[in-house]
Assembly symmetry: D2
Homo-oligomer: 150 residues x 4
């Protein structure tokens, strides 16, 4: 995989203030794939001390976006049009690991699957699975004027 693409993707991730707030790390970027890890913290929980569903969904959405980003060219950038996530099991443990894979890359539309695993005592279990539709966009100006159809 082209290093310049990897750098572009990693720089995009670094620019997301929300990923820093969560403490999430982009641990892998491949050709149409990505992996994000997030360590447990009480600041990420729902009322029972489990990882909040919104945190799980955020990782799935973001892993999908960066997996698609790795396939984009000409300076185009990823924008999630919509996503769906099934929460299979309580997301508890020492960390979450989200892995995404582009199922089909079109000219502008990318269909991506993302799974989120919760790890506890070295055992990983599938906590959630998502289907994410990502669009490539030309510029932030387009995004602001045209929204998710940029």
């Amino acid at each position: 995989m082209d290093d310049s693409i990897r750098q572009t993707v990693e720089q995009g991730f670094a620019k997301q203030g929300f990923m820093q707030t969560l403490g999430a790390k982009l641990t892998k970027v491949g050709f149409g794939t990505s992996e994000i890890k997030l360590a447990y913290d009480a600041s990420l929980t729902q009322q029972h001390g489990l990882f909040h569903g919104g945190v799980v969904a955020t990782l799935a959405d973001n892993a999908a976006g960066f997996a698609a980003y790795s396939l984009m060219q000409g300076g185009r950038q990823p924008l999630t049009i919509e996503f769906k996530i099934n929460l299979l099991a309580p997301a508890k443990g020492s960390q979450l690991v989200a892995r995404a894979e582009v199922l089909r890359a079109g000219r502008r539309i990318f269909h991506v699957r993302a799974d989120v695993f919760s790890e506890e005592d070295g055992v990983a279990s599938l906590a959630a699975t998502a289907l994410v539709t990502v669009k490539s966009t030309q510029s932030v100006t387009e995004i602001e004027s045209r929204g998710t159809d940029a």
Copy 2:
């Protein structure tokens, strides 16, 4: 609406570490409805300085969960089984407002719609709309042992 139910719902929200991390406020709780507001902050952004899609999804999911919670009895608590969200427009502005309404409340399953509006200069625009399936659960023990089927 019963004040004790409102208190229970508000206490549940207060127990979510992630809502405090985001700075989100539960601004309304009705009979099968809820509203959550979140002021803009750079710590909540994606790479273009817009609200991160994960933040938008988190508000939609959570508003739905608390709207369902307001209809639960016997100490049962909400757990999201799955949700789907369409991101219609860039979520930018001074704050996000998520409003949820239970479309159908069953014995255990609640079908909920949640809309997220972005407000800028006093103008609100629909940024996202979600369909959320919430289940009522008996206890955190059940949640930990049975996951989203508790």
Copy 3:
């Protein structure tokens, strides 16, 4: 609404062999809206004699596609990229009525909501609600070569 657009939409519906198989009728076409009706028949049922969930989903998807079609120009045609449907109640009764409304029309991407009502003894109840993402496409050639990203 331009009559030529209405005719184009109605002709598109008439070309769908599957709508004839179901016996579905396109009963209304507006500017970004549509309505499809389908009378009950044993050939449309699941194991309990209710309308099959696939029939309900088909009407929601199709109503959404034609609602989006009514806003397309330059001979572009609708193609569903993805959809999600919540089945709230058993779809039983004398007929189903699907109503769709475009929530946001972009250059190529259309976010559409579709509700399906079941009517019995003159009473309509919400049987399902869907969120559908539709893309406008240039031609069938594009569709065959590029799939849902045409």
Copy 4:
């Protein structure tokens, strides 16, 4: 796998009028899995002569329901609460093959993945992938009175 369960599942499929209308066959039933095949026919098409998206969605939903059914006990029956499907490529060819696998089986809630492949000249390509939430229900009476929460 218990033959009596297989028979129960196959009998349930045979009772679906809509499957006969489509001409769909339940070709495999395993422990938490199922496969449905459907030969191409002009009666199943959208305006470009491709398989209608509603047909694709119906197969995905139904394969998921029967995969879950294979794991149900005590005479309980499957009911789809909701599903989401991404249409990756045009569904064209001589037949469709839907394969479903239960990702997590709870007491009442089953999270199921279903893929639909289109076959042409012996080559199968992924046309769609779906996530389906199925609930087990006690009886048709419950279904009629309580809907998808039976």
